[in-house]
């Protein structure tokens, strides 16, 4: 097991390098550069040339690539063209909001998804099952940006219960610590709900079918025959094995936790990684684009590794296979 993890960790390096290199090619192959996106009426051709020289954009592409790669190898992600600050600092600022939003969404996702699936699988094709199946199918088909817009319209603009955007109120810094937490949660509610609801629809659909599958297993029948109570059959004999595959969901949702939902962050002006990437792409802020891509790729790869390891931990059959 340990050897397997180690081998996968070693593989991580060339994979991340591949993703970073491909991204670099995409970024530099695009027409224009940061120097062309700076909008200022007093900016002439020679000033733009000076800008290009200042950020090393006049260098041959191979040299730009090698100097970026060399810096990354020593742990330096470079300095943002737009914000004139280290990319690492920028990421450190954008990651916590994204993690907070993603974590809250994942929590809602599992809570709602498991509850609905268990209730639906109790009586397959009963009224709750039918309604929840249709609703879940509907929610999974709705574009997330549309749900977000609708939620903002109803709960923020018409009812005024929640703020429509941003992470904190104006002047939140002057509030007492509990007040600041309450303010943050107040802002978190709508975006987390939008993200969590879409996830919950998928979780519920998936878990329902797994639950029904497990219910048909002979060990469930055997437990029933032994006179085990319905509740215990559900929790210990049905839900437990059905939840196993869901463990991998934690690992697979890590990239999503780190990269954030570009759409939700855009709609709610949530200052996270997704929004930062969108802004960096618009401004041709190469170091920021590359930094976020590297972090995103590491998250994807680590996530799938964690998913596999967790699965082996909770399911002895897989553990033996892996060896």
């Amino acid at each position: 097991m340990a050897r397997l993890i180690l081998r996968r960790l070693v593989w991580l390096v060339p994979m991340v390098w591949l993703v970073a290199t491909l991204t670099f090619i995409v970024v530099v192959a695009a027409p224009g550069s940061y120097a062309d996106t700076v909008d200022h009426p007093g900016l002439g051709a020679d000033q733009r040339e000076a800008l290009r020289a200042r950020y090393g954009l006049d260098q041959p592409i191979l040299r730009q690539y090698l100097s970026w790669l060399g810096a990354v190898a020593t742990g330096d992600l470079g300095t943002s063209f737009v914000f004139k600050e280290p990319v690492a600092a920028l990421l450190m600022r954008a990651l916590p909001p994204t993690l907070l939003l993603g974590g809250a969404a994942l929590f809602l996702d599992l809570l709602l998804g498991i509850a609905v699936a268990v209730a639906a699988a109790r009586r397959p094709h009963g009224w709750f099952d039918r309604i929840s199946t249709v609703v879940a199918l509907g929610i999974a088909g709705l574009p997330s940006f549309w749900v977000a817009g609708l939620v903002v319209l109803v709960f923020a603009l018409l009812l005024g219960w929640f703020p429509a955007s941003h992470m904190t109120s104006v002047g939140a810094a002057d509030l007492s610590p509990p007040g600041r937490v309450a303010d943050l949660l107040h802002h978190l509610a709508l975006p987390a709900l939008c993200l969590g609801l879409v996830g919950a629809a998928g979780t519920a659909r998936y878990l329902r079918s797994t639950l029904l599958e497990v219910r048909g297993e002979r060990f469930v029948l055997a437990a029933r025959a032994r006179g085990v109570s319905d509740r215990r059959v559900l929790v210990r004999h049905t839900l437990r094995p059905a939840l196993l595959p869901l463990v991998t969901l934690f690992g697979l949702s890590l990239p999503f936790l780190v990269s954030g939902s570009v759409v939700i962050e855009t709609v709610f002006a949530w200052p996270g990684v997704g929004l930062a990437l969108l802004q960096a792409a618009h401004a041709r802020d190469v170091p920021v684009i590359m930094g976020i891509t590297v972090v995103g790729a590491v998250a994807v790869l680590l996530g799938s590794l964690i998913a596999d390891v967790l699965y082996a931990v909770v399911d002895p059959r897989v553990r033996h296979e892996v060896r």
Partner: protein, 315 residues
């Protein structure tokens, strides 16, 4: 198990949507030229009077008042009074789905946008289908080395955060419709190639294939009679779900202002436009959003329906 009608319902909805988008604009009465000064943000179902004047202007307004020798046409800011002698023609038009803030007919935009959304998703799915099936077959039948190289490539590409890549490419290159199709198609085939490879490998060891080989069937015959029919089900299920994903991906990019150029209507772009005037015109974001949802749900139903059929047949 009760036979469910998912496949039929999904397919009927998909066909109805497609026919409406491609044939609809030819059948419904053509909307009048947009009149932003008088006919912007009209609610669904509003009937307007369309007045064409002698100097070639088209005035569209829900409030038209005939006087003795003139006609008063109500506007958002001020009314216009035109002498009757100046009027060439008058007719009435109903905006079934209202108008946007430029006075354009939402129904027409929706149908035209649907053509674009459907064509982009379908073409991208076709590309993804060709590459995915080709790569999967090559990996399953081409020997160990080809299999290893192809599958490691697939693993590597799956390590890309796809939405990142889409957003990067879309922002940096501002692709036209064709390039967008290519990008969407090229980033969505990996799962399918894994599916095809797995199916072929598991079919290969099944008794009926062995029996066919033992009976001396030619490889072409075995492929035609045994592999292809057994691959068709899972592949079409996967393609139905993929089409839904592609519709959502295109809509998301258009929503972010990165997809199809904004002068063409698309459902995602219409939602984005509608968001800006959400309070004044709730229908502007709602209608195209529901259209996307209907399309994606009908595709999900088709996918589910195919899966149910396969499960029943497998028993």
């Amino acid at each position: 198990m009760k036979r469910s009608r998912r496949l039929e319902i999904g397919a009927a909805t998909l066909v109805a949507l497609t026919v409406a988008c491609f044939a609809g604009p030819l059948i419904i009465p053509a909307p009048p030229a947009p009149d932003p000064a008088r006919a912007a943000l009209l609610a669904p179902g509003t009937t307007v009077t369309v007045v064409e004047s002698r100097d070639g202007r088209t005035l569209v307004s829900p409030r038209v008042d005939a006087r003795d020798s003139t006609v008063v046409i109500g506007g958002h800011l001020r009314d216009v009074e035109i002498p009757r002698s100046q009027i060439v023609s008058v007719h009435r038009h109903r905006y079934w789905l209202g108008t946007d803030r430029f006075g354009r007919d939402v129904l027409s935009s929706l149908l035209i946008g649907g053509r674009i959304s459907l064509s982009v998703a379908a073409s991208a799915a076709l590309i993804s289908l060709l590459i995915g099936v080709g790569c999967g077959l090559a990996a399953a039948t081409g020997g160990r080395w080809i299999d290893a190289v192809l599958m490691r490539t697939v693993d590597g590409l799956l390590a890309f955060p796809v939405l990142f890549l889409l957003i990067l490419v879309a922002t940096l290159f501002r692709p036209g419709p064709m390039a967008l199709v290519a990008v969407l198609g090229l980033t969505s085939w990996m799962g399918l190639s894994r599916l095809v490879r797995g199916q072929v490998l598991s079919l290969r060891s099944r008794p009926f294939i062995l029996a066919a080989r033992a009976a001396g069937s030619t490889p072409i015959r075995i492929w035609r009679l045994h592999y292809l029919p057994n691959l068709a089900g899972p592949v079409s299920q996967d393609t139905a779900l993929r089409l839904g994903d592609l519709v959502l991906a295109e809509a998301t990019l258009s929503f972010l202002g990165l997809g199809i150029p904004p002068d063409l209507p698309t459902w995602g772009g219409m939602v984005a436009q509608g968001h800006r005037v959400m309070i004044q015109g709730w229908w502007l974001a709602t209608v195209p959003g529901l259209a996307i949802a209907t399309l994606v749900i009908s595709l999900a139903l088709i996918g589910d329906g195919i899966q149910q059929r396969l499960a029943i047949r497998a028993r």
